[in-house]
């Protein structure tokens, strides 16, 4: 029963780069396979900082991702990775550490940890300890090496939080934390955040942890600071209605769906908004003073979170989403800007349903048009693809 649409796995990561460096030596990737029944998260910390560390950690994450995704046996995969990775023969340590989290069918969690701070597991507001198995093997250069493996059943409300040592060691040498923030204090902080906001998203939690660690370092990160969170929860839903239905008989249908949808609602398109307003007996108010980004102004309708123009706005939204990545995207989005506000509504949702009307607006095909307007269906398809691939959202499209 776990594998239903009432559960959603949110995964998010955040990062601060070591002060003075231009690239992070930690790498974190989040990926889902094509059939979307498996999510893999890998966080690797490369030895040192800067380019060299970045190369080492991205080498580790991409190798680990391929192997874990294609091979069932975590233990032998981990041994292979550890034997293959370059090592520092002087310091007799591996060049990169890593944590791998895999979630299958929204149910089975498997975690492999090699030398990173231990993963934190919360069930609701409680820290829980899952039994770990430890594996040892002989490394040709480094000698005996150890890593841990654990698996358990994921439940609604579970959170998994992993971070690089830039988090646990933050604040080291500062007056408050002589030995750094340390794992225990990080856990304490996480439990405070969860108890003050029991529904805190993976996105916000990882941003908060990063900000706190950065503050410990007095806003000059002494090492790369990276955190990734997984949160299993009920999905937050968003409905986007765009375009008039092909058949006018369906006008009442789109209005009905919008009215009864359990989640946030956006209407993209003036004609669409007119149809819904007419069907539901609502009023639309256009605020011509509220304009940003060279876009037609937004409008207001009771019961709808956002009413915008259609194809121009959707095209811009697509380009904006394309310019973002998973890591710390929140910081760059400004809610005062229409497209960013819209992007935030999408990114703060887990399941997004598009109800796309297919009536062609002949005027949009007009050769005299000063700008080229894309066909609504194509833009929506492209938005769906990027939301699924890059942001791991569940997206459905219904054409009417």
């Amino acid at each position: 029963m776990n594998n239903d649409t009432n559960l959603f796995i949110e995964v998010a990561s955040s990062q601060k780069i070591k002060s003075g460096e231009s690239i992070s030596g930690d790498t974190c990737i989040i990926s889902s396979n094509d059939s979307k029944n498996r999510i893999t998260l890998i966080l690797s910390d490369g030895l040192g900082s800067g380019i060299k560390a970045a190369v080492l950690s991205s080498l580790t994450t991409s190798m680990a991702l391929r192997l874990f995704q294609n091979c069932g046996d975590c233990v032998s995969v981990t041994e292979t990775i550890m034997k293959t990775l370059p090592v520092c023969s002087v310091r007799k340590i591996s060049y990169a550490t890593f944590t791998m989290v895999e979630i299958q069918e929204k149910r089975l969690v498997r975690v492999v940890e090699y030398d990173n701070p231990p993963i934190v597991v919360f069930r609701g507001g409680d820290l829980i300890e899952k039994e770990k198995q430890y594996f040892k093997f002989e490394h040709p250069i480094l000698g005996e090496q150890k890593f841990s493996y654990m698996e358990f059943e994921l439940q609604l409300g579970d959170r998994l939080i992993c971070f690089s040592d830039g988090v646990t060691q933050s604040g080291m040498g500062e007056r408050k934390y002589n030995f750094g923030w340390q794992w225990e204090n990080a856990v304490l902080y996480i439990s405070e955040v969860i108890s003050s906001d029991p529904d805190v998203s993976a996105r916000d939690l990882s941003d908060k942890i990063i900000s706190k660690a950065w503050a410990n370092d007095v806003f000059q990160a002494k090492d790369d600071i990276t955190c990734a969170c997984v949160y299993c929860r009920k999905p937050r839903k968003l409905l986007v209605v765009t375009g008039p239905p092909y058949d006018e008989q369906k006008d009442s249908y789109i209005a009905y769906v919008l009215k009864n949808y359990p989640g946030k609602k956006i209407i993209c398109g003036g004609t669409t908004a007119n149809i819904i307003a007419r069907e539901l007996g609502k009023e639309i108010k256009v605020d011509i003073n509220d304009r940003s980004d060279d876009l037609p102004p937004i409008a207001y309708m009771e019961g709808v979170d956002l009413v915008t123009e259609g194809v121009i706005t959707l095209s811009k939204l697509f380009r904006r989403l394309e310019s973002l990545n998973q890591v710390s995207m929140q910081g760059v989005l400004r809610p005062s800007n229409l497209i960013d506000k819209m992007a935030l509504l999408f990114l703060h949702s887990d399941v997004i349903c598009f109800l796309v009307g297919t009536r062609i607006n002949e005027m949009h095909q007009n050769p005299d048009l000063p700008v080229e307007l894309d066909i609504r269906r194509n833009i929506v398809r492209r938005i769906k693809e990027i939301l699924e691939r890059r942001f791991l959202k569940e997206v459905q499209i219904e054409f009417v």
Partner: protein, 88 residues
């Protein structure tokens, strides 16, 4: 006091790309003695773009008179015809 003259600027996609964007600042361009007699509103697609008989976008409604291929000058001219009728 008499009712204000209503001006509705279409902000639908067609009107917007055909120059409606420039009309959104109409209010600023109104002569100051006229400004208080006029209410400028935005509107979602007014429907005129769907039928050639109404002429070309952008469309503006001044009270219930349609201005097609509207620009700031055309709209102000039309508004002025009404201003003369609205005497307080």
């Amino acid at each position: 006091m008499k009712k204000k003259i209503t001006v509705q600027i279409c902000t639908g996609t067609n009107c917007y790309v055909f120059g409606g964007a420039n009309l959104l600042d109409l209010e600023k361009n109104l002569p100051s003695e006229v400004k208080e007699k006029v209410e400028v509103k935005g509107a979602t697609c007014l429907g005129f773009c769907k039928d050639k008989k109404y002429g070309k976008a952008p469309f503006v409604l001044v009270e219930d008179e349609l201005v097609s291929e509207a620009d700031v000058h055309k709209v102000i001219k039309k508004v002025m015809q009404y201003v003369d009728k609205v005497v307080d």
